[in-house]
Symmetry: C2
Subunit: 426 residues, 2 copies
């Protein structure tokens, strides 16, 4: 990595322990901007406790539906079920999360059973004969709504793929692979999922599609770089079209040739999305040994954070307009949990590669903001929605778009990476 | 009206002038809660100035598209066109507004010409052969998007009907009547406009549909109570199903038999909508001489205001959940311009009927909040979106859902009614 040339050599654990305490600061001597082992260890413990004591127990306690299987995903602050509709994105993501914990953390039977209940519910109810996956279902699985998008399908595949490895269930993997083949055909032409195209529409590409697919392949191929190589390359190529190196910005919507569209749609920035896309890309850059892509991914996270951070009140804006017009979305200035979750891991991953104090500072600012605003120690899990000033606007822990996913995924990824950093093995 | 039994007798203008000044307040004597003529006259002047000096000139100056006809409706604070997409709701509503001003205020050639330009653009581009009306068009009229809803059609009809009377153009009226016949068939079964219905969906009715249709008929029939009598009765019957007399609340979504649905959808409250529905209904109650419906309409406005008003920071919430869960919409606690516009006229209309000091107070609180938060004297028109605390979150004056409609319509309606109150003729 070109960024790693300035990184310090790895400090062996025992060396730290026997090092003399640092001298008091002399005039002209700057304090080290690098975190020492005690800082890393403290953070590792903080993420560990938050994940296993505050977040996962909330979902274990309140979400299971003992009658129909699957999960209640609309949970009030204290876990009360205020709505029984089952949103497929969140059913599937919770399956993924518990399967992942079972595989990567500890083979707890309860975690596998939690995942199994969701998979079984989804396989019984979520997918239509033609392969389309519903967006929401009644408590007992009857279809409620279907989007003219492919994301329900993507999360359905993600759930089945991760569960198949946790449970060693080949039939789930085969179904996931078959569904992926369908989704890949639909992915870049949504007319095939019923979305009409009109003459006056500006031809455009949305970052969400290739980034979600790239992350999905990571789960589906379990990190194997050969299985979906052509699709991986295509997703990466498409994602990089959104990175404008001259303007130092990641556009959410671009013309098919990558050029800038001067309209609300084209100027639209979604910093959380761009940061998430950055670390999705970085995972593949590392796997493929592609230093050039790694550099791009690092920039995507940095630029999006620096542009998206609210210098007055802190936190990441939800949306911005590149030319500083008011975004038309009413919620543009709110601070949502998930962009901060993505930023936590995005910056820590960047730091693990670059060892740059700037990346460390971005991580520290994000984690300070996130931990002082989102967690609810009284009842567990995180609040999801704050106004610009940092006050929670919504009491619930689970809703149509928030479930057991972004918080535990980010905490688990950061916790894992902090363990590696702590051991000096990154 | 049963409410009018407590109304004071009309005070002739000269009597006020020669009356002795009121005595200083004695202990036990309460000040009169009724506005005197000077208060009404002051308000009349304020609404008049706001409409003709601050609001209408903004649209006259910045919105016309001299090349393609129609209007730029995405206008920044100072009128700068930040997006050229033409949103049909707003094109049509601007036609309605200028036609109305031409008919009801003054036959200014410029106003009729403004309306004509919009009508001509809409008739050329907005309607498809099958009668469906697009939601948005490019600057030169190519279709961009189509909703699986009927509201573009409704506003298209409203535009043509009002313009037909302003311009004495019979062909517009005939087209409006033909389009209405189509829309009426689609209105209560959106499968006919392409919206699928799934097995698990809760059968429900939305207040928006009958209320918009009832207001549309008011424009289309130009107040004639005979022309669409069956449709009028049907809309009124459907609207009143949303009024829960026991709970004293207007639900946005109800079961087909009018019963309460205990879900986010069923608990959803939209105070601005319910207030608007109230005055739509009151207009017909007055025309039809239906005291019972008038009482219902008065209650709809009162209950919705009292439930929707933010007692801590002022202004009307955008959405609420009847059972006090957090609404799932991110923007629920924002203060939008249009509910306040509807409330201004809703309360003044109530007061003109009831002469109740409570209705007058609701009007005064709303107008104080609205005039101290929304207008922009520097550039004209009103801001559209405030956060809970009353700070503008969006700079623009026109966007995909805000144009030349709610502000001038409310100002014109209130100004007209204040003139009547001033003359003691209400």
């Amino acid at each position: 990595m070109n960024q790693t040339t300035t990184a310090p050599t790895t400090i062996e654990p025992h060396k730290t322990a026997f090092n003399p305490p640092p001298k008091p600061q002399d005039a002209g001597e700057k304090p080290s901007p690098y975190p020492d082992r005690s800082i890393i260890a403290g953070l590792r413990l903080k993420f560990e406790q938050e994940l296993f004591e505050n977040v996962i127990p909330f979902w274990e306690k309140h979400s299971p539906d003992p009658v129909n299987g699957g999960y209640f995903n609309c949970l009030d602050r204290d876990g009360y079920v205020y709505e029984t509709t089952k949103h497929v994105w969140l059913q599937a993501r919770q399956v993924f999360m518990f399967s992942k914990l079972y595989r990567a953390v500890e083979q707890r039977t309860a975690w596998l059973e939690m995942a199994r209940s969701g998979v079984s519910f989804l396989r019984r109810h979520a997918r239509r004969v033609d392969g389309r996956v519903f967006f929401s279902l009644t408590v007992d699985g009857k279809p409620v709504s279907l989007q003219r998008k492919i994301f329900s399908e993507c999360f359905y595949i993600m759930a089945l793929a991760e569960y198949s490895r946790a449970a060693d269930d080949q039939s789930c993997l085969i179904e996931a692979q078959e569904e992926f083949a369908r989704v890949w055909k639909w992915a870049f032409d949504w007319r095939q999922v019923g979305r009409p195209v009109f003459e006056g529409e500006t031809a455009s590409q949305n970052l969400a599609v290739p980034m979600i697919l790239l992350n999905l392949i990571e789960v589906l191929a379990d990190g194997d770089t050969n299985e979906y190589r052509q699709e991986i390359d295509d997703c990466i190529r498409r994602m990089l079209l959104h990175v404008d190196y001259e303007r130092k910005v990641v556009f959410e919507n671009i013309a098919p040739d990558g050029s800038f569209i001067n309209s609300c749609q084209g100027r639209h920035l979604n910093p959380g999305h761009a940061i998430e896309a950055g670390w999705f890309l970085q995972h593949w850059a590392q796997r493929l040994g592609r230093e050039d892509i790694s550099t791009n991914a690092i920039d995507m996270v940095r630029w999006s954070h620096d542009l998206g951070w609210d210098k007055e009140w802190g936190g990441l804006y939800y949306f911005l307009d590149y030319c500083c017009f008011s975004p038309s979305q009413l919620e543009w200035n709110m601070k949502l949990w998930w962009p901060h979750c993505e930023a936590l891991y995005g910056h820590l991953l960047n730091y693990s590669i670059t060892r740059s104090p700037e990346d460390w500072l971005r991580f520290m600012h994000t984690q300070t903001y996130a931990f002082s605003h989102f967690p609810d120690p009284a009842h567990g899990e995180w609040y999801g929605y704050l106004d610009r000033y940092g006050t929670a606007t919504h009491r619930f822990k689970g809703g149509p778009y928030k479930g057991c996913f972004h918080v535990p995924r980010a905490l688990w990824l950061c916790w894992t990476l902090l363990q590696r950093l702590e051991k000096g093995l990154s």
